[in-house]
């Protein structure tokens, strides 16, 4: 097989985190090898496939219609009893993407810029000299290879085996993981084909939510992802939750299930330590996920950019120590981690809300209110809350219950 014995960066994992690392490192003329364990980059998908417009802009990614298949104009939120709140923006707020195709785009871009990528290449061990990670051992099509690296990037997803084999503790506590299950359904009618639909229910989605992420329309029928994420320690399986809920949705359950996906999402438990001597963890492997909605693609790619900046400097200064590389962790918390940490607290508050109280809250809000609250403008948010509290004193009791 045509690859070298030594690289600047060896990346374990060809998802958004690993592929973005490969692109950015290749742009800096670093020698990069990316190893993907599956036989195809982009598959299987373990994802709802929604990506907000802010990420396209921030990351400088052009939403090519080949992968950015459906523009999304906002969200419709359903309460446990089925009351709905429509939050619609004037402009598209994001896209549902075909990740299979998106990741192929990233892989081709990385290769075109000089990175070497190999599918069906599983990292089975980490090479070490003393405390320094110096490369990996991998199996490609039954044959074993060793390759040296100045820095190993562990971008191997939620299971994060490479980082853990190297000695970085990235184990997820059950409480901090959501268990997810999803069908891509086709031949159905979605009520709102240009909005994401989120269904809240402690019965069918303990702590999490059910979702419909529409992907498009053919012959007057819609298709898209229909899934659920629930608290990892729940004894009921995510599959059972989704199947039981579908039974309550007469229109949806008529649809065909053309893809079945399962996956787990690290929704909290941010890591204080994301580096070792010669190793950096990026993406799900480093628990870099929004703890409220479980989205991680944008966050992972942003972290990859930061990782490459730090690695390039480490190589230039010939300092591959944990101490130097840990600047990545520090910078990431300043850029993103601290914001996510505050969301963990908000999530804990939200997950304590009972279905009954949720109903009261939803009944006293309009879609416009949610827009103002979600918009993040403190003054607007305060106005909305104050107005609502004056109208509905019961809401104040509920808010006090969860805020304490």
């Amino acid at each position: 097989m045509d690859f070298e014995k030594e690289y600047d960066i060896v990346i374990a994992g060809g998802g958004p985190a690993g592929l973005r690392t490969a692109i950015k490192a290749a742009e800096k003329k670093l020698k990069v090898l990316l190893l993907e364990k599956d036989q195809e980059i982009g598959s299987p998908v373990r994802c709802g496939e929604g990506l907000g417009m802010g990420w396209f802009n921030r990351l400088g990614i052009k939403p090519d219609p080949q992968f950015a298949v459906q523009s999304i104009y906002g969200a419709v939120l359903y309460s446990p009893k089925g009351k709905k709140l429509v939050v619609r923006f004037d402009k598209a707020s994001g896209y549902i993407i075909e990740r299979r195709i998106f990741e192929k785009f990233l892989a081709r871009e990385a290769a075109s810029k000089g990175a070497t990528l190999i599918a069906k290449a599983t990292v089975i061990d980490v090479l070490k000299e003393g405390e320094q990670v110096t490369g990996v051992k991998f199996v490609h099509a039954g044959e074993e290879f060793s390759v040296k690296a100045k820095v190993v990037v562990a971008a191997d997803g939620v299971e994060s085996t490479v980082a853990r084999k190297a000695g970085l503790n990235t184990t997820n506590a059950l409480y901090n993981v959501d268990s997810g299950y999803q069908y891509e359904m086709a031949g159905v009618k979605f009520e709102h084909p240009d909005l994401i639909a989120l269904y809240f229910s402690n019965k069918y989605a303990n702590r999490g939510y059910l979702w419909i992420f529409p992907k498009g329309e053919i012959n007057g029928k819609n298709y898209g992802n229909v899934g659920v994420g629930i608290l990892g320690s729940d004894t009921k399986t995510a599959k059972k939750c989704l199947d039981e809920w579908l039974e309550t949705q007469p229109e949806l359950k008529k649809g065909s299930k053309i893809i079945v996906n399962a996956g787990c999402i690290p929704v909290g438990g941010l890591l204080d330590k994301m580096t070792l001597n010669g190793l950096i963890a990026v993406g799900d492997a480093a628990h870099q996920v929004n703890p409220i909605h479980g989205g991680g693609m944008g966050i992972a790619m942003e972290a990859a950019d930061l990782a490459v900046e730090v690695i390039a400097e480490a190589i230039e200064k010939n300092d591959l120590s944990d101490e130097f590389l840990s600047q990545y962790t520090k910078k990431w918390f300043e850029l993103r981690g601290n914001k996510l940490q505050s969301l963990v607290k908000k999530r804990k508050m939200l997950e304590a809300i009972s279905d009954e109280d949720f109903e009261t809250i939803v009944n006293s809000l309009s879609g416009e209110d949610v827009l103002k609250l979600a918009g993040g403008d403190m003054l607007e948010s305060a106005k909305v809350v104050t107005k609502k509290l004056m109208k509905n004193p019961k809401l104040a009791t509920i808010l006090l219950k969860y805020l304490k």
């Binding site: 939620v158 299971e159 997820n172 268990s179 990892g232 599959k239 059972k240 787990c264």
Partner: protein
């Protein structure tokens, strides 16, 4: 008290999503594409893998 036992694996249900690997505190599970292996010497019988599994393939 919960019984101390190894998880039971039903390969016909497994989606190979690796959620079990992610929560295993003992690094006792190994997933290679479509093969999940349990290292019984490392397993501490906590059964975290049976709770996280989205499809009940580990129970």
């Amino acid at each position: 008290m919960e019984e101390k036992r190894f998880p039971e694996f039903k390969p016909e249900l497994c989606m190979y999503c690796a959620g079990c690997v992610a929560v295993c505190p003992a690094l006792a599970l190994n997933l290679n594409e479509t093969k999940l292996e349990l290292n019984k010497e490392k397993c501490i019988k906590c059964l975290a893998c049976t709770k996280i599994c989205p499809v009940g393939a580990l129970r």
